[in-house]
């Protein structure tokens, strides 16, 4: 069967079967590869997308559960006010190393700043806990979220 998804403001159709993780529809079918595969068990956060604005692990989100909801990926962040601020902060601080987890980090950071305009270091740690970075760029991520908050406040 064909389903329609709302992704980055557009309507997309997919023939993926029930039980297919959203991650693989985005990556393999739509060929949008900014959303990464890291663990497949919602334990690293590399696959984080927004579902109705909420950071969600797309590797454990199934296609039958996301009809009619707004799905947003890293590719749409440049046009998002908070997303653009986070990207600017990430650029200023050169947060990335290998970069493979950073799409997911940014999607989580945007989710945090959407609900908390000025998070403390502890609040950032608590919210971003599930986004692993094997390069351990954590202190720059923490600083990047706070810098993005400043950019948004200005």
């Amino acid at each position: 069967m064909t389903r329609e998804l709302k992704l980055n403001g557009e309507t997309i159709s997919t023939k993926a079967q029930d039980g297919t993780p959203l991650l693989w529809v985005i990556r393999d079918e739509l060929k949008m590869t900014g959303t990464k595969f890291g663990c497949g068990v919602a334990s690293c956060g590399a696959c984080t997308v927004h579902i109705d604005g909420q950071p969600t692990r797309s590797c454990q989100t199934f296609i039958e559960d996301v009809e009619g909801v707004e799905i947003t990926t890293i590719e749409a962040m440049r046009d998002d006010k908070i997303g653009a601020a986070v990207q600017q902060a990430w650029t200023e601080l050169d947060v990335v190393q290998c970069g493979y987890c950073q799409s997911g980090q940014i999607m989580s950071a945007v989710g945090l700043l959407a609900e908390n305009k000025k998070p403390t270091a502890d609040e950032i740690d608590e919210y971003m806990w599930g986004n692993a970075c094997r390069c351990a760029t954590y202190q720059r991520i923490r600083a990047g979220v706070q810098r993005a908050a400043e950019i948004l406040e200005a």
Binding site: T33, I74, W129
Partner: protein, 726 residues
């Protein structure tokens, strides 16, 4: 013939699309050309003046796409915004790592160390050729001209380099171009002038990693791997996969190491692989448990003689220690560790029209991948190309003398009719359970102290599985039977240690092992720096003072090691100590040519959970080409080291790996570690490594902090068996 007529004739002969390429010929001589046919360039300048650095090292986050680009930009005289980067193709004659011989590859923290002169020379040659062209055109002396921010400038004139690209191609290539002096540098070592070149593509989803390749009509292959190392396929049943969507076929790999499962997409390949059952032949499989391996290693350091005496004479040390007033006797254990780079292993082999193939890979050792494909596919070297893309971390895993995942992909490709690209994908479970671990090691150290607390003997025994033996790296790394990587950081310690003897016993192969960020230093630094802290406690000496006293400055190495300790003392306000309620641990180590001292401040300890509040780091890595990249590598190296000593290990039960994925091989999390502050020692020495040297001191600095906080003295890793972390 004048230069002008030469240039005119040249201009008549070529199209406007002329590019200036400067690089090396196979004999190592600087050369320039307008086409890539006879040289392999390090710098390319197109007719519009756009500059591209051709980077011979892969990018796993450690920064060469920024660093080597900086060298070209500096010498050429362009801004970082006027230069792009491209990854070099596979060509071990031209793009070899100068420290590895005729071999192209990244490892041992050598990217900047081996490229510093080479890339500056290429940039400087390009500058001199552009200037010669401008001097000729303007009728001025070339020595009056320079290139600044992409403009040829001097003698009252200025023009963009684009104006001289075509005529520069006809200029003689300078044999020894003048390198800019340090006081002329505008980029090298300058704070705030250089941003990472790979940031933009890594924050908007556009950067392409090997996992992101989707070539038209590609097959995805996943391998059903043996649960035990050394097992082979007896038979398999794919009836459960036959009707699954996208399933194409399943075949046993030619070496019987696994079953290759082909499908149209990654998800379908994963599903199909799960539906296939394999019966394994364990005749030659490793059946031991890690508890057995551990007991064997412990026994090797505690009883009998070492196989190799790598420093000193054990009997002399033993004799010296007979008069000791006190002996500190400690045994250490380091478990197997997986690398677990964020991007699981993957590569793609693409057939092309000439009958050859392209290997698309985050290629750390392109030469081994290249050679492996020629062997498996029966192709000559020139029919195999390696296209390097971004790598999602490595920590050593993608640099493998067996080129294991390239080999798997080649074997799988050879099982097809070779008409379609084949993309090999590993899952995280494949990665965690897939071998090539940091080997398990045991140490036993007995240090004898006299009445005055002075060291009079240091008897050090090490046992573990050699990383290098039996691999193509053996001739380079093993001498008189000793794999130097098993003892580095102990037998060659920078400290002045009286009466030291070091024995090594190789452990029989237990599983496949591989270098892991900082190689032998992962365990040797932990042991050395823990022992020294125990000596400091025993003798009631300040740990900083004790270390400085063991570095009397008799060698340049001792001076530099003392230098980072002094820098750390200043940065951390050592004399004042940790903030109230916190405890501070110290460690310092020399590795990959660099010196790093670290102090870790923890809260808790004793009855309370331990929390890492702050880390200080001082590094001497010679000339600091990109200070912020160096800081980032120290931050990352510290996090990588600390995360693993805290709670990670790979264990085996009857030969099967117990861990499966991140939930039971838990990565360091953001909440685990506070701020890391890094100071770089100013230096005019040649650049040395930064990717690995931050890791070795981090574990022992944490162990020392925990001990000083009233917690246990941890010598058996991971710490989590004895320490509760907040």
């Amino acid at each position: 013939m004048t230069l002008t007529t030469s240039r005119r004739r040249f201009l008549q002969g070529v199209a406007a699309s002329t590019v200036l390429l400067v690089g090396m010929r196979a004999n190592g001589v600087l050369a320039a050309a307008s086409e890539t046919t006879d040289i392999n360039p390090f710098v390319r300048i197109d007719a519009t003046g756009r500059v591209t650095a051709i980077v011979k090292h892969f990018e796993m986050g450690q920064g060469p796409t920024t660093g080597l680009t900086t060298l070209i930009a500096e010498e050429l005289g362009v801004t970082m915004d006027q230069i792009d980067f491209d990854f070099a193709p596979s060509n071990p004659q031209v793009y070899n790592n100068l420290l590895f011989g005729t071999f192209q590859g990244t490892g041992g923290s050598t990217a900047m160390a081996n490229s510093f002169a080479q890339y500056r020379n290429a940039g400087a040659a390009a500058r001199e050729m552009l200037i010669a062209a401008a001097a000729s055109d303007w009728g001025v002396d070339a020595t009056t001209l320079d290139i600044v921010d992409g403009m040829v400038t001097g003698g009252g004139k200025t023009a963009p380099i684009a104006d001289f690209v075509a005529s520069a191609v006809t200029q003689d290539v300078p044999a020894e171009p003048r390198l800019r002096k340090p006081d002329e540098w505008r980029l090298i070592g300058k704070e705030g002038r250089v941003k990472r070149k790979d940031t933009p593509a890594k924050i908007d989803g556009s950067g392409i990693f090997a996992m992101d390749l989707h070539l038209e009509n590609q097959l995805v292959v996943m391998i059903a791997h043996a649960p035990r190392m050394g097992a082979i396929v007896k038979s398999f049943d794919d009836s459960g996969a036959k009707d699954m969507p996208g399933f194409e076929m399943a075949k046993t790999l030619p070496d019987n190491s696994g079953v290759a499962v082909f499908a149209d997409t990654t998800w379908n390949a994963m599903q199909a692989r799960d539906a296939i059952t394999v019966e394994w032949d364990d005749t030659n499989a490793e059946m031991r448990s890690s508890d057995t391996i551990r007991a064997e290693l412990m026994s090797a350091v505690e009883t009998g003689d070492a196989t190799y005496q790598t420093r000193g004479v054990q009997a002399e040390t033993a004799s010296a220690m007979e008069s000791a007033a006190k002996v500190i006797d400690k045994t250490f254990y380091f478990p197997l560790l997986a690398h677990a780079p964020m991007e699981p292993l993957t590569c793609t082999i693409e057939p092309i029209a000439d009958g050859g193939v392209i290997l698309h890979d985050g290629a750390q050792f392109p030469t081994f991948g290249h050679m492996t494909l020629t062997q498996v596919l029966g192709l000559p070297m020139e029919k195999v190309q390696v296209k390097t893309v971004l790598a999602g971390g490595s920590f050593g895993r993608r640099a493998n003398p067996t080129a294991d995942y390239n080999l798997e992909c080649a074997m799988a490709f050879a099982l097809t009719d070779r008409s379609r690209p084949v993309k090999l994908v590993w899952s995280r479970e494949d990665d965690i359970r897939g071998g090539y671990y940091r080997p398990a090691f045991a140490h036993r150290v007995r240090v004898g102290l006299d009445d005055a607390g002075q060291i009079i003997g240091w008897d050090h025994r090490i046992a573990g599985q050699s990383i290098m033996k039996g691999t193509a790296m053996e001739p380079m790394a093993v001498h008189d039977g000793v794999d130097h990587s098993s003892i580095e950081g102990v037998a060659d310690t920078v400290y002045a240690v009286p009466g030291m003897s070091v024995g090594l016993t190789d452990h029989a192969k237990a599983t496949s092992v591989l270098w892991w960020r900082s190689v032998g230093h992962t365990h040797t630094a932990f042991v050395m720096e823990s022992m020294i802290d125990m000596i400091a406690s025993e003798t009631d000496t300040d740990p900083m003072e004790l270390r400085l006293s063991m570095l009397p400055g008799e060698t340049p190495e001792q001076k530099r090691m003392a230098g980072v300790l002094n820098k750390l003392a200043e940065l951390s306000n050592w004399k004042a100590g940790a903030p109230d309620g916190q405890s501070r641990g110290l460690a310092v180590h020399h590795s990959f040519g660099s010196y790093v001292a670290e102090a870790v401040d923890v809260s808790g300890g004793g009855d309370q959970a331990v929390k890492i509040e702050k880390v200080f780091c001082a590094v001497d890595c010679g000339i600091a080409v990109n200070p912020d990249v160096i800081r980032a590598q120290m931050e990352g190296g510290i996090g990588y080291g600390i995360g693993h000593v805290m709670r990670d290990q790979i264990t085996l039960t009857d030969g099967e790996v117990d861990q499966t994925n991140f939930p039971d091989y838990e990565p360091l999390r953001i909440s685990d570690i506070g701020t890391i502050e890094v100071a770089i020692v100013a230096s005019a020495d040649a650049p040395t490594g930064v990717g690995e040297p931050g890791t070795p001191p981090s574990g022992p600095a944490l162990a020392n902090a925990i001990a000083r906080a009233g917690g246990p003295r941890v010598t058996m890793l991971p710490m989590i068996d004895e320490v509760e972390f907040a």
